[in-house]
C-alpha cells in the first residue's frame, strides 16, 4: 500500500468549488542521475494521475521526470453530488496506487 496523503473536504455545498490535494510518497527517479558506480540510475516515475468523482473523470495529469519526488498535486472540483472521489496513480515498474475519500454534498 503506497503512502498517500489526500486532503479533501468531508462536506460541501452543491456547486461549491473545492480544493483537492494529493501527496504520495514516490522516489520519482528521473533516469538522468548517475549512481555510485557511474551508471545512470534507471527512470522510475509516476506517469499518470487521475481523479474521478463517482466514477466520472474530473482531472488527469501526465507527469514527467520533471515532477519533484513525493509528488504533490492540487486542483479544483465543483461539488456535484455526494459520493466517492477516487485518486489513482500509475507509473514505471508496474506502480499503481489508489485512494478514495467520501464526500457529502448538500
Amino acid at each position: 500500500m503506497a503512502n498517500v496523503l489526500v486532503n479533501a473536504p468531508k462536506t460541501a455545498k452543491k456547486g461549491e468549488v473545492v480544493e483537492l490535494k494529493a501527496l504520495i510518497m514516490h522516489v520519482m527517479e528521473t533516469g538522468y542521475r548517475p549512481g555510485t558506480n557511474g551508471h545512470i540510475i534507471p527512470r522510475n516515475i509516476i506517469q499518470d494521475f487521475t481523479a474521478t468523482w463517482n466514477g466520472r473523470e474530473i482531472f488527469r495529469m501526465k507527469m514527467s521526470p520533471a515532477i519533484a519526488a513525493n509528488p504533490f498535486v492540487s486542483f479544483s472540483a465543483v461539488a456535484s453530488e455526494s459520493g466517492t472521489i477516487a485518486f489513482r496513480w500509475s507509473g514505471d515498474e508496474g506502480f499503481v496506487a489508489e485512494h478514495q475519500v467520501a464526500i457529502t454534498v448538500t
Binding site: V17, Y32, I67, S76, V78
Partner: protein
C-alpha cells in the same frame, strides 16, 4: 610600520564565498552532478546526456498547438523567481476562464527550457473543475524559463512564461 596581514583564516574563507559558474556538459545533467564534481575537487567521468534546448522547447509547444497562434494572457504562472533548491520548486498555473461547457480550459501544458527533457506536465480539465488551476512541485536543473500553455474548448492557445533562478545548497553529501 608593517602592513597588517589579514588573518590567515579570513583570507581563505573569503575566497570561498564566490558564485559558481555552471557550464559544460556536466551542467546539462543537472545541478547535482556539476556541483559534486566541483565540490569534490576531482574530475567525475559521467556519460553525456542530451538536454532540452530552446529549439526543443519550441518544438514541443508546436506539437501541442499544431502551429496555431500562441497568445500571451489569461494564464498566470506562479513560480518563485529565486529558488533555494531545484529539486522541489512550487509551481501554480491558473487560467482566467469561466469553465462553462461553452468556454473552458481543456488542458494545461507546462514546459521547461534547460532540463534534460522539455516536458514538465500535462493536465486535462473540464467544466467539472470549476476553476482552471493546477499546483504541483517541479524539478529545475538550472536557472531557466518555464512556459505554461492553456488550450481552451474554443481551440485557442494562451500562454505565460517566467524566468526562474535556481540556486543550490552549499553543503551536500558526497554519494560518489
Amino acid at each position: 610600520m608593517t602592513a597588517r596581514r589579514p588573518e590567515r583564516s579570513e583570507a581563505k574563507s573569503r575566497d570561498l564565498f564566490v558564485r559558481r559558474q555552471k557550464t559544460g556538459p556536466s551542467a546539462a545533467l543537472g545541478a547535482t552532478v556539476g556541483r559534486r564534481s566541483f565540490l569534490a575537487g576531482a574530475v567525475t567521468v559521467v556519460p553525456f546526456v542530451a538536454h532540452a534546448t530552446p529549439d526543443a522547447l519550441a518544438a514541443v509547444i508546436k506539437e501541442v498547438t499544431g502551429g496555431a497562434p500562441l497568445r500571451e494572457g489569461k494564464v498566470t504562472l506562479d513560480v518563485p523567481p529565486l529558488v533555494e533548491n531545484g529539486n522541489a520548486v512550487p509551481l501554480t498555473v491558473k487560467v482566467d476562464s469561466p469553465m462553462t461547457t461553452d468556454d473552458h480550459v481543456k488542458a494545461i501544458h507546462v514546459f521547461n527550457e534547460k532540463n534534460p527533457q522539455p516536458h514538465v506536465f500535462n493536465a486535462w480539465l473540464s467544466p467539472a473543475n470549476g476553476q482552471a488551476r493546477v499546483a504541483t512541485r517541479i524539478k529545475l536543473a538550472d536557472s531557466q524559463k518555464v512556459v505554461a500553455v492553456a488550450e481552451t474548448s474554443k481551440g485557442e492557445f494562451w500562454s505565460a512564461h517566467t524566468d526562474v533562478i535556481v540556486t543550490i545548497a552549499a553543503c551536500i553529501e558526497d554519494v560518489t
